[in-house]
């Protein structure tokens, strides 16, 4: 039989290779290269650079208040996004599932923002926040609308959330919709016969049955929220000052403006990578345990 298994690997390799080669050339090799540079003081221009061991990592974690600040800001953003994005998405999915005739319409409408690229929606909302809302406040005398939506650091966090949610909820909603449709009707009917209220049915039948969808959505949100860039870049540019700067922007700034410290910026990227790895690992471990089969 050894010949047969050999053949199996050849065909496996044949199928995987085209994608794998591209993946390796454009992602794997640069990633490893980036990790390599994170131990150097390369500035992106000089031909020579030195190995400085864990110097970059030590500096990022102990002597760089801007990096730590952006880390906390990102964590706050991640927390809000995980809760809000999933609550909204699930609520919308349940709402749409309960419709009989207008299902397709609502599904399309709520998914639409997801089809616009994030950076473009950020620029659209910049216009809304800076021009439309103040005008609206003037015409309707709703004083609440007349805020420095993207200029005031206390308010701009929520502006960033609004745009991220507007853009991201639709995608999660589709996943939840698929999950909801997979819940066997028979279970719900059984619960109904046992006298469960709709809320009880939802909590004790529907939710456990869609845990796999929740796992995926949490994973995607967690992963995406840590790597948020375009929305913040388009709306506030991290400003005023650095008050809304997220990690990715801090890294970008370190590498492509400031002192062009590529090595140092790579070290920060590696830190971000490790953080995401740990968080998602824990999240998957915890949530996988709770999944049930029908």
């Amino acid at each position: 039989m050894p010949v047969k298994s050999y053949k199996k690997y050849v065909s496996l390799f044949g199928f995987v290779a085209p994608a794998f080669v591209l993946y390796a050339v454009f992602l794997l090799i640069p990633t490893i290269g980036g990790m390599y540079y994170s131990f150097t003081d390369w500035n992106g221009l000089n031909r020579s650079y030195e190995f400085i061991g864990f110097g970059n990592f030590a500096e990022a974690l102990s002597e760089d208040p801007d990096f730590i600040g952006s880390l906390w800001f990102t964590l706050k953003y991640v927390l809000f996004m995980i809760v809000l994005q999933n609550v909204f998405a699930l609520a919308l999915a349940v709402f749409i599932e309960s419709r009989r005739r207008s299902k397709g319409f609502f599904r399309t409408v709520f998914f639409m923002p997801n089809m616009i690229s994030t950076i473009i929606s950020a620029f659209m909302w910049t216009f809304v926040f800076a021009q439309v809302l103040p005008q609206l406040a003037e015409k309707t005398a709703i004083a609440f609308l007349d805020q420095a939506w993207i200029g005031d650091p206390n308010v701009s966090f929520y502006s960033i959330l609004i745009v991220s949610l507007w853009n991201g909820v639709g995608y999660m909603m589709i996943i939840y919709l698929a999950g909801l449709q997979g819940v066997p009707q028979s279970l719900k009917e059984a619960a109904l016969i046992d006298g469960a209220t709709p809320l009880q049915t939802f909590r004790n039948v529907t939710l456990p049955m869609i845990t796999h969808a929740i796992t995926i959505c949490f994973f995607l949100t967690l992963n995406g929220a840590f790597k948020v860039f375009e929305v913040v870049y388009g709306l506030t540019g991290g400003g005023p000052g650095r008050s809304t700067q997220v990690i990715t922007m801090n890294i970008y700034e370190e590498a492509f403006s400031n002192n062009f410290r590529y090595g140092y910026a790579s070290a920060k990227s590696v830190i971000l990578f490790v953080i995401i790895l740990i968080f998602t690992f824990i999240q998957i471990r915890v949530m996988k345990k709770r999944e049930v089969e029908a």
Binding site: P18, V21, G44, L45, R47, I150, G237, F260
Partner: protein, 431 residues
């Protein structure tokens, strides 16, 4: 089975092709071919890298003239491969090229921000003994000269700036641009009395509030604090010496339009063009945008007063886009010919005029725009200074710091401390 092998072969080919991309053209200027027979034209392929796609047609035309000239005078067939990426990622692409030994023969870079580090990394050819150097205006030359006195680039784009003011409003109220901060206060009072907001504020993009630093620092360096930059480079100075910049910055902020942190450069230009403010802390590089939104707009450039010493009210003169020759170029002779042709006695004037750049050489005698002439008057009176060599990272920091200061998140001392720290880390990284 055959198919599998075919698949593998294709994959392998693709892989080798991709790998090949990395090495392609690793020998810069792979020209000098064909030649041989006496009398036959030598052919040279010149690679250029200029990140100004909006001006492509002018460059193309000028390059075509150059090619014709080389053919006529030296019998060299020059073919130019002009690369014009957008300005946003040009620096990125150029760095990659240089680092991977694929340098273009001639490339554009920013005189103040980029020349020092590129020179230090050894990518720039020394052009000090080229004929064009003698034609440069004395006020422009320092911007393309390295600290050890070598001219390494020919400047294309220069800027003379302070702040912009609405000439119509100033003329209606019978005012002239103030020369001291006290006069500036009087101007502000008069504008307010006539219900005109004195300043347009646009601080959404950090580089706009940043502009106040080169202006204030430049003025102070040229009057009372001549060795500030050198001392900062040696970790001996401190930005507390520049605290005076907050006098003018506070004055501008106290008398400006609202919600400044939401207004970007383009919105600011529109507001200024619509007469929503009489002055705008901005350079003439926004002229095109302003005229687009109001073609009738009459505005001028004036130096910003920062204290009560009229001598310190000066125009900032700096070069930005400049052309340098790669040290590793295989076609240096032709590349140098082109660099000199940029300031050619006959052709250069028309070229610079078409590009709408300011005159930078004695061979430039064309008429420029009114706002350029405004600034040139100050420059000719000697009321200008070379843009101080503040590291880019410090400039970025000051933009962010002043944004935060405007939003009330940082105090003056916080900002100054952050700047000291930024300069120190610049020194540390670039020692």
């Amino acid at each position: 089975m055959k198919k599998i092998w075919k698949g593998l072969l294709v994959t392998a080919l693709t892989a080798s092709m991709l790998a090949g991309c990395g090495n392609a053209g690793s020998q810069p200027g792979n020209a000098e071919g064909e030649g041989g027979a006496p009398g036959a034209a030598k052919s040279v392929k010149l690679k250029m890298f200029i990140a100004q796609p909006r001006l492509k047609e002018h460059y193309d035309k000028y390059i075509a003239d150059f090619v014709a000239k080389e053919k006529a005078e030296k019998n060299i067939d020059v073919s130019v491969q002009l690369e014009m990426p957008t300005a946003d990622n040009a620096a990125q692409i150029l760095k990659t090229r240089l680092a991977s030994n694929d340098a273009p023969d001639i490339f554009a870079l920013h005189a103040i921000n980029e020349i020092p580090s590129y020179y230090k990394a050894g990518y720039l050819e020394d052009l000090s003994d080229q004929p064009f150097v003698g034609k440069l205006l004395d006020s422009v030359k320092p911007s393309v000269t390295t600290t050890d006195g070598k001219v390494v680039a020919v400047p294309l784009e220069t800027l003379s700036w302070g702040y912009l003011y609405n000439k119509t409003i100033f003329a209606d109220l019978g005012m002239t641009p103030p020369t001291t901060i006290t006069e500036m206060k009087a101007v502000i009072e008069k504008l307010k009395a006539n219900h005109i907001t004195p300043f347009v504020l646009s601080y959404k993009e950090a580089w706009i509030p940043q502009l106040v630093l080169p202006l204030a620092a430049g003025a102070l360096i040229n009057t009372e604090n001549a060795d500030f930059i050198e001392r900062m480079n040696k970790d001996e100075g401190s930005f507390t010496e520049m605290k005076a910049m907050f006098d003018i910055f506070d004055l501008i902020n106290a008398n400006g339009t609202e919600k400044a942190t939401e207004v970007g450069g383009d919105d600011g230009a529109a507001a200024f063009a619509a007469g929503k403010g009489a002055m705008w802390l901005q350079g003439p590089w926004y002229a095109e945008t302003i005229l687009k939104s109001n073609p009738e707009m009459d505005f001028g450039v004036a130096p910003l007063p920062i204290n009560d010493n009229p001598e310190a009210t000066l125009i900032n003169l700096s070069a930005s886009t400049s052309l340098a020759v790669s040290k590793s170029s295989g076609n240096k002779e032709v590349a140098l010919d082109f660099i000199n042709y940029v300031l050619d006695d006959q052709a250069s004037g028309g070229f610079f005029q078409a590009l709408k750049f300011n005159p930078i050489s004695t061979v430039h005698t064309y008429d420029s725009y009114p706002w350029v002439n405004d600034a040139t008057v100050f420059v000719k009176e000697g009321k200008s200074y070379q843009d101080p060599a503040i590291p880019q990272s410090v400039k970025d920091e000051v933009g962010k710091g002043l944004q935060a200061y405007y939003a009330g998140q940082m105090s003056q001392d916080d900002v100054l401390q952050a700047l000291d720290k930024a300069w120190k880390s610049f020194n540390k990284v670039n020692k």
